[in-house]
């Protein structure tokens, strides 16, 4: 379970870079009590597991997608209440096969976030308990938030 210990941003940073020396890259932009990083899609689940179980990030407040035209991105916001730190993880995914491991088993709140990201962007979360359309009717064949979706724009 999560340790009830408060960490500073620097401590979290060093612990993560220790465990994932190549897979996780920290971004140069800084904000108080915020942490920005990009992760490989293969190591995302392990990173999330470590952040939850060792660093005490107890809430997943956001999962969404971004369409960068040449690639898709999945964005996660994880918060630790004891350390009062919010970490943003960005995972690059190939546009033709945007698959990433689901973190819904770790944080129950990620369940609907991931379903919505699937509904809007078509990102496939492997291991999600019920990856179906959430906001749109089940028989829709397109993902409206993708840049190349032209439904209703003609």
């Amino acid at each position: 379970m999560a340790e009830d210990v408060s960490y500073t941003v620097e401590q979290v940073k060093s612990k993560i870079s220790e465990a994932f020396p190549t897979a996780v890259k920290f971004e140069s932009k800084t904000k108080p009590r915020r942490l920005f990083m990009t992760a490989d899609k293969g190591s995302l689940l392990n990173l999330a597991k470590m952040m939850k179980e060792q660093l005490g990030f107890d809430q997943c407040s956001l999962v969404t997608g971004v369409d960068r035209c040449d690639r898709m991105q999945a964005v996660y916001h994880l918060t630790s209440y004891t350390s009062n730190i919010t970490a943003e993880i960005v995972v690059d995914l190939p546009r033709d096969n945007p698959e990433v491991d689901s973190i819904a088993p770790l944080w129950g709140g990620a369940n609907w976030h991931e379903r919505e990201a699937y509904d809007m962007f078509g990102i496939i979360f492997k291991g999600h308990p019920k990856l179906e359309r959430l906001l749109l009717p089940a028989d829709y064949t397109f993902f409206p938030m993708r840049k190349d979706c032209d439904k209703g724009r003609d």
Binding site: L135, L136, P137, F142, P144, G152, D154
Partner: protein, 187 residues
């Protein structure tokens, strides 16, 4: 008056007897002028009763629902007009659609409309319910409630003020007043 079947009434099936006796009663009531008298007295009375106890379905979708709520608050007090919001379609006679109807909501709304007993009316409140409003040509918003439910009164506005909502119901009053809802038999 068709009394030719009268001697054979004993040999009729129940269904035939009901049809025959209904016809006979109908003819008698018409011929003696009782129907006219009944309609003249009862139609205005029933019509008045229906008009002044309209139960809209308590079904708010979007921003217009806040105007609906304000309308039932103390400042506008729609209960003085007999408008009482009910939360079950089985006891409602007005479907007040306020807000955008997404394509996912459409089957449920149609079902609610079909669950309401006759006679029933529909009011489309606000731009979204009338024509899709700001969601023009959208991929997930229905372009007007009248594409799948017959609408009696349109209340324009985005959102319409509670006065406009009350005015819409008064327009519906006028429509019901002309509809001969209290007449007992077809002419």
């Amino acid at each position: 008056m068709d009394l030719s079947a009268y001697p054979n009434a004993i040999a009729m099936s129940a269904k035939e007897f009901v049809a025959w006796s209904t016809n006979v009663m109908d003819d008698i009531v018409r011929a003696t002028g009782v129907k006219k008298a009944l309609d003249k007295t009862m139609d205005p009375l029933l019509n008045w009763g229906v008009r002044n106890s309209m139960y809209p379905l308590h079904f708010g979708i979007a921003c217009c629902a806040l105007e609906m709520a304000a309308c039932s608050g103390p400042r506008y007090d729609n209960e003085r007009l007999g408008l009482v919001f009910r939360s079950s379609p089985r006891q409602c006679d007005v479907l007040l659609v306020n807000g955008w109807v997404t394509k996912k909501l459409r089957p449920s709304l149609r079902r609610l409309y079909e669950e309401m007993p006759e006679p029933k009316w529909t009011i489309a409140m606000g731009e979204c319910a009338i024509s899709g409003g700001p969601w023009y040509d959208s991929y997930n918003v229905v372009q007007g409630v009248d594409t799948f439910i017959p609408v009696d009164v349109y209340i324009p506005g985005c959102p319409p003020r509670p006065e406009a909502l009350i005015d819409g119901f008064l327009k519906l009053h006028q429509k019901i007043k002309k509809s001969k809802i209290g007449a007992f038999m077809e002419d």
